[in-house]
Each structure stands twice: as structure tokens, then as C-alpha cells.
């Protein structure tokens, strides 16, 4: 019996040490990234205050861009969204809308609004895709930048690949058609492609923010508000933490593994040479970046991935749990698939910082974290059942994690306040502050649950995105 007790005590000690060790590791890595991000963000803003983007606007030497916007059942908003894409502040660009076999009236709306006619566009597909039904351009000279491709449904990655095949310019900007872009977003996204000498910039990514309850007029964001619905409100905070405190640091370290599928620019040649978007994963945005990086490293080509911290793209966040769960489980499946496809990079010195830091970080803190939390929960439940739980220690540990989560959210709010100050209304600030206190109890368990569903779906072999219904942007009355 004494031996048994000693065993249990030993197991308890090790368990506590492991939990604490993991928590401390994750917290210190978050703080480290936040520190690098904040420092870099300030430097960026200082530099940017002297940048004259007009030189890009008026020069024929500005990088030529092709915007690729895949659309599936976007009939509700497609007219306005395409109009806003056509009116961005940039000269050298074309817009390619790829209708991915929508079941709604998207194609009819586009044809009618933009006076589209079938055209014989000369292009040489380099990536295999689903069949194209027709390529359309407008009879109206005002829409000469627009190309609409109607194709059989093949998923987002397939639609993006069609865009890559058709794009006539050396750089492609892949966006979600329902996103609201800042008028200067292309100017900011294009600049890094000009800045590096001797190193090829293969991609640039921008910050995505939540637009729920913001006021949108003529496809432009005119007033920023914090949503009343708690689920989307916390996502505002979550995006601030991810984009302002996380990705900025990874950008600085040049270890960025993900450029949001909602808004990112790529060197077309490298994207095609790497094979284009993978249709085998639902995390095609992350997978493409990892593959492009891997291609450059395998071929010993100097390169970099750039990151723009300005809020350039605004998107709608899910407001009800069902859609949120679908989105997050898909994200988890995408992460698992990408990490699994590129498992050779894990702790492989050949892939430098990417192999030694970025991939292990994503594996440990993005892929495994929900699983570790779940296992911890089960073990805690077992301790409770057998009366082994030290309640005092348990609550202390819980509060330790909770207070850190609150601190990290407040750091994100501080960073936002000191930089972009997009939420000037006092009420909005307090809403976000309140969200910081609620997040660990309400939102975090939901994300863990959704990630576990993602694990399950991956094991069960679920493929595809599933239907993602959006409400469309609503105006605050």
C-alpha cells in the first residue's frame, strides 16, 4: 500500500511539473513574441509615417498585380464586393473573380451588373484544375480590369489555382470575395516586393480584422464598431492577439507559416513552381506558404516572406456556435494536414528557422495544445473521482492560467491603443476589456472543443469545407 501511495505521489508530482512546464513554456513564448511584435510594430509605424505611397500609384514600375477572388454562393453580396475590388487605389492590377460552380444566382448577377460577354482568353494552364465553363470580360470600358471565370465546383483551392493559371501579372493577390479591403491595401501589399535586393519576396500578408457590426458603405468600411454578440466580440480580441502580437513577431523572425487566405499576395512564378494551391487540404493558405518556403529552401534560393501589420482587410466572423465550430474544426484539420504533409521539416536543420522553430512551435502550441488540454481535463476528472485532487492547488493553477489570459488580452489592447487606435469609442474599449475577462471561461473552451472536433474529423477522414453560411455585413442602427 505504501508502495502504491509512493507511486501515486510520484505520478502527481510529475503530472504537476509537466502541466506547469507546458504552461510556462507557452506563456513565455507568447510574451516573447508579444515583445518582439510590439517593438517591431512601433518601428514599422515610425518608418511608415514617412512613406509616400503615391509613388506606387503614379508609376508604371509599380508591381503588376492580379487579384484572385474565388466565389461560391456569394450572390447576396457579390455585386457590391466586386465593385469595391474594382475601385481600389492602384493602377497596375486586374481582378479575376472565379465563380466556383455556385448554386445560386452569382453568375447571373455578375453578367447583368458588369455587362459580361464570353471571351477567348489566351492562357496556358500550368496547374491542373476542374473544367472551366467560360471566361468573361466586360463590354463596358469602366470594368476593363475585370475577368470573370465560370468553372465547375472544385473548392476554394481549385478556384485559386484557376486564377493562378489565368493571371497575367507577376504577382497575385488572393482574397476572399466577401472581405472588405482598405482602399490603399494593394499599395501597402505591393511595396515589400520592391524593397528587397538580392532576396526574393515570395509573399506578403496583411492583417485581417473583424467587421461584424461595423458600418460598410459602397463596399468600404466607414465606421469601426465592436460587436454586441459575445462570440464575435471575443474574436475581435482574438484577432488582435494573433495579428498584432503573434504574426508580427514571426514576420520579423521570417518564420511566418501562415498568410491568411482572406488576404495575401504571392509571387506567381514561385507559387506555380511550388505546385499551386493543394486541393488535398482544407488549410490551403498555410500549406501553400509552407510549400513555397520549402521550395526556396530546397533550391537554396534566398527569399523572404513579408508581413504588413496595417489593418487592410476586414472580414465577417461567425456569430453562432455551429458555424464557428465548423470554421475552427476546419482550421485544425488544415493545420494537421499541413504539418503532416511537411513533417520532414520538423526539427530539420536544413529548413533553418522554419524547421527548427516555426514548425515545432505550430506542432506543440497550435496542433497539440487542445489535445493536451483535453488530456489534462480527463486526468483532473480522475483525480476528483478518486479524491486525489488538491483543490487549493487546482484553483491556484486555474487562476494562474486565467490571469495570464487576461494579461495577454490587455497587452493586445495596449498594443492596439498605442498603434492603430481603431476603437476610439470608450464603450467599445470597455466591451473589449470585458471580453478579455470572459474569454478564458467562455470562448477558450469552445475553441478547444472545435479543435477536438477537428481532430475527430481528421481521424474519420472528413474532407472539404462544408457549407459556410454568412449573414452578410449588417449596419448598426
Amino acid at each position: 500500500m505504501t508502495f502504491f501511495n509512493t507511486e501515486i505521489t510520484w505520478f502527481l508530482d510529475v503530472y504537476i511539473l509537466l502541466i506547469l512546464g507546458y504552461a510556462i513554456l507557452i506563456m513565455s513564448s507568447y510574451l516573447m513574441l508579444a515583445y518582439i511584435s510590439t517593438k517591431e510594430l512601433r518601428k514599422y509605424l515610425k518608418r511608415n509615417s514617412f512613406v509616400d505611397y503615391d509613388v506606387l500609384l503614379t508609376s508604371e514600375f509599380a508591381p503588376k498585380l492580379s487579384l484572385i477572388a474565388p466565389a461560391y454562393n456569394e450572390g447576396l453580396t457579390i455585386e457590391e464586393n466586386v465593385k469595391s475590388l474594382l475601385s481600389l487605389n492602384y493602377n497596375n492590377y486586374q481582378v479575376i473573380v472565379v465563380n466556383d460552380g455556385s448554386k445560386d444566382n452569382s453568375m447571373e448577377i455578375l453578367t447583368k451588373t458588369y455587362d459580361l460577354v464570353l471571351t477567348d482568353l489566351d492562357f496556358h494552364p500550368q496547374i491542373e484544375t476542374k473544367k472551366i465553363r467560360g471566361i468573361y470580360t466586360s463590354r463596358n470600358a469602366a470594368f476593363k480590369k475585370l475577368i470573370v471565370v465560370d468553372k465547375e465546383n472544385g473548392g476554394k483551392a481549385d478556384a485559386l489555382n484557376v486564377g493562378l493559371n489565368i493571371a497575367q501579372n507577376p504577382y497575385v493577390v488572393c482574397i476572399d470575395v466577401d472581405c472588405i479591403l482598405d482602399k490603399d491595401s494593394l499599395l501597402k501589399l505591393a511595396k515589400p516586393f520592391l524593397e528587397s535586393y538580392g532576396k526574393r519576396i515570395i509573399a506578403t500578408g496583411g492583417v485581417v480584422r473583424i467587421a461584424n457590426q461595423c458600418v460598410i458603405k459602397n463596399g468600404r468600411l466607414v465606421e469601426v464598431n465592436v460587436p454586441d454578440v459575445m462570440l464575435s466580440r471575443i474574436q475581435v480580441l482574438e484577432y488582435l492577439r494573433a495579428f498584432l502580437l503573434g504574426r508580427m513577431a514571426w514576420g520579423k523572425l521570417d518564420g511566418l507559416l501562415l498568410i491568411s487566405g482572406a488576404f495575401g499576395a504571392f509571387d506567381k512564378e514561385i507559387a506555380i513552381l511550388s505546385g499551386g494551391y493543394s486541393t488535398k487540404t482544407v488549410g490551403e493558405d498555410m500549406e501553400l506558404i509552407v510549400r513555397m518556403r520549402r521550395y526556396m529552401l530546397d533550391n537554396k534560393l534566398p527569399y523572404s516572406v513579408s508581413y504588413i501589420p496595417d489593418p487592410l482587410c476586414w472580414t465577417e466572423a461567425p456569430e453562432d456556435f455551429k458555424i464557428f465550430k465548423k470554421q475552427r474544426s476546419r482550421w485544425m484539420r488544415g493545420t494537421i494536414e499541413t504539418l503532416s504533409i511537411h513533417r520532414r521539416m520538423f526539427l530539420n536543420p536544413k529548413y533553418k528557422l522554419l524547421g527548427m522553430l516555426s514548425v515545432p512551435y505550430w506542432t506543440l502550441f497550435e496542433f497539440l495544445a487542445p489535445g493536451i488540454e483535453f488530456i489534462g481535463l480527463i486526468i483532473t476528472a480522475v483525480f476528483i473521482i478518486f479524491g486525489l485532487l488538491n483543490w487549493h492547488f487546482f484553483f491556484l493553477l486555474l487562476f494562474f492560467v486565467y490571469s495570464f489570459a487576461v494579461l495577454f488580452s490587455v497587452i493586445a489592447l495596449y498594443s492596439e491603443e498605442k498603434t492603430y487606435h481603431k476603437y476610439p469609442k470608450q464603450a467599445d474599449f470597455f466591451k473589449l476589456l470585458m471580453a478579455a475577462f470572459v474569454e478564458p471561461f467562455y470562448f477558450h473552451p469552445l475553441t478547444v472543443y472545435a479543435a477536438l472536433v477537428g481532430y475527430k474529423e481528421k481521424i474519420m477522414g472528413t474532407k472539404g469545407w462544408g457549407e459556410m453560411t454568412r449573414k452578410g455585413f449588417t449596419k448598426k442602427e
Binding site: D13, F50, D52, T58, A62, E195, L396, L413, F429
Partner: protein
């Protein structure tokens, strides 16, 4: 510290560690919250002051432009003098002055330039050039260039060789505004590569400031630095300098660099088409 070490040795460090961390996190959150509140209040106050100052400044500057009032007369207003001593007021004044100057030309612009000199704002711009912070230097350079202070050229051109890229671009931009082609002559001997962004800025400055004197641009084609040659070709193309075509022909014939040869030939095709 010794106490913590003792606790660690005894295997009883977890509880004190957690308690300490919780206090630390809570205190950190509270301090950041207070900083945010203070920062927001500061912004609100600044916004209010800026609005108040703008009313005074607009009145003064419109009198300077349209009623030929000099700074000596403006100074007679004691309220203005009191405000003029405030750094933030001077900041708002400088901003308004620059914005107005951008919108006016000829005699009105000259009156604003005179006001800039008489008010002593020019001195603070020169002082900014001596700052250790590059961003302050950039501000000073921008101000001096805006008001066409040619005496600042030598100091400004020196910064165009700075290591900090932003400072370099701002200085070159300003120098081009002040002295045109003279500012880029030194680039012929420039050793480091000039990236496309910087090239675009130089071209942009020529276009924006409508530099009349374009003598000497052809010298860029003689550089040993291929990025400088590329800049020269781009400048000739964007400014449509057909009178420089013989130099481009010479370059296309003599260069051994295939990329430059191709660029020169393509430029010849464009300009002679």
C-alpha cells in the same frame, strides 16, 4: 532570491511560484489598463487642443496670406505669443503651415515661406536635423524642403548617404526638390545596390516636384553599379527624356551586362516608337 531557492530545494516551490505569478499578471494587467486609460485621455485632450489651436492658427494664417500681415504684427497679440511658446501649438502650427503651403503657389506660397522664416519655425527645423533620432531628422528635412530652404541642401544631401533607408529616401526626395539633378549625381559612384522602392521614390520625386533641370541624368548610365544604371534608364523612360537617347544607344552598344542591354534596347524601342 535565497528564499525561493530554499523553497525549490525543499520541493515546495509551486504554490509560492503560482501566487507570485498571479500577482504579477494582475499587477501587469492593471498597470497596462491604467496606461491605456491615460493614453486615451491624452488623445482626447490633444484632439480638443488641436481643434482649439486650429481656430487660432487658421485666423492668423489667413491674415498672413490675404491681409499681408507679417509675423511682427502677429506677435503683438499676447494670447498668440503665450500659445506660441507651447510645443504642441508650434507642432499644430507647423502642420497647418505645411498643408497650406502645399495648396498654394506663387505669392501666397512666398508669404507662408516668409512667415516660416520670421516665426523662427525654420530654426526648429534646423535643430531637428541635429537630433539623434532619425525620425526627427526626417521631420526636419521634410519641413525645410517644403519651404524651399536651399541653404539646407548641403546638410540634407549628407543624410541621403545615411544607413537608415527611410532617412536616405526622405533626404534624397527633399534634395531633389531643392536642387534637382544635382542631388543624384553622387549616385554615379554609389557602391551599394539601390532597391526598386528607392528607385521609385527618386523617380516619384522628379515627377512630383516637376524638376526642370534634367542635365546630368545621363551620367547615371556611366555608373559601375547596375542598379544605378537601371535607375537612369527608368528616369529617362518615365520623364520621357528623348534627348538622352544617344546615351542609351551608347549604353546598349557598349555594356556587357545582358540585363542592362535588354533594358536599354527595350527603352530605345519604347521612346522611338
Amino acid at each position: 532570491m535565497t528564499e525561493f531557492w530554499e523553497l525549490y530545494k525543499n520541493g515546495q516551490w509551486e504554490v509560492p511560484f503560482l501566487t507570485f505569478s498571479i500577482y504579477l499578471f494582475l499587477a501587469g494587467s492593471l498597470i497596462l489598463y491604467l496606461i491605456i486609460v491615460a493614453s486615451r485621455n491624452g488623445k482626447i485632450k490633444k484632439e480638443r487642443l488641436s481643434k482649439e489651436y486650429s481656430v487660432v492658427i487658421d485666423k492668423v494664417l489667413s491674415a498672413v496670406i490675404f491681409e499681408n500681415i507679417s509675423f511682427a504684427e502677429v506677435k503683438k497679440d499676447k494670447n498668440f505669443l503665450v500659445l506660441f511658446d507651447t510645443p504642441f501649438f508650434r507642432e499644430v502650427l507647423m502642420e497647418s503651415l505645411i498643408n497650406l503651403h502645399k495648396n498654394y503657389e506663387g505669392i501666397y506660397a512666398q508669404k507662408l515661406e516668409q512667415f516660416y522664416k520670421d516665426s523662427g519655425l525654420i530654426k526648429s527645423s534646423f535643430r531637428k536635423l541635429k537630433s539623434l533620432k532619425w525620425e526627427v531628422k526626417c521631420k526636419g528635412i521634410t519641413e525645410l524642403a517644403e519651404f524651399n530652404i536651399k541653404e539646407a541642401f548641403d546638410q540634407i544631401i549628407a543624410y541621403s548617404k545615411a544607413r537608415k533607408k527611410t532617412l536616405k529616401i526622405v533626404a534624397l526626395n527633399a534634395a531633389i526638390k531643392l536642387e534637382g539633378t544635382e542631388s543624384i549625381k553622387y549616385l554615379v559612384d554609389h557602391l551599394d545596390p539601390i532597391d526598386d522602392w528607392m528607385q521609385l521614390n527618386i523617380i516619384g520625386a522628379f515627377k512630383k516636384h516637376d524638376v526642370g533641370d534634367r542635365e546630368g541624368i545621363e551620367h547615371l548610365l556611366e555608373s559601375q553599379n547596375t542598379t544605378v544604371i537601371a535607375l537612369g534608364l527608368k528616369l529617362i523612360k518615365e520623364l520621357k527624356l528623348t534627348q538622352k537617347l544617344p546615351y542609351v544607344v551608347q549604353l546598349a552598344d557598349n555594356t556587357s551586362n545582358t540585363v542592362i542591354k535588354y533594358k536599354a534596347q527595350s527603352l530605345l524601342q519604347t521612346l522611338t516608337a
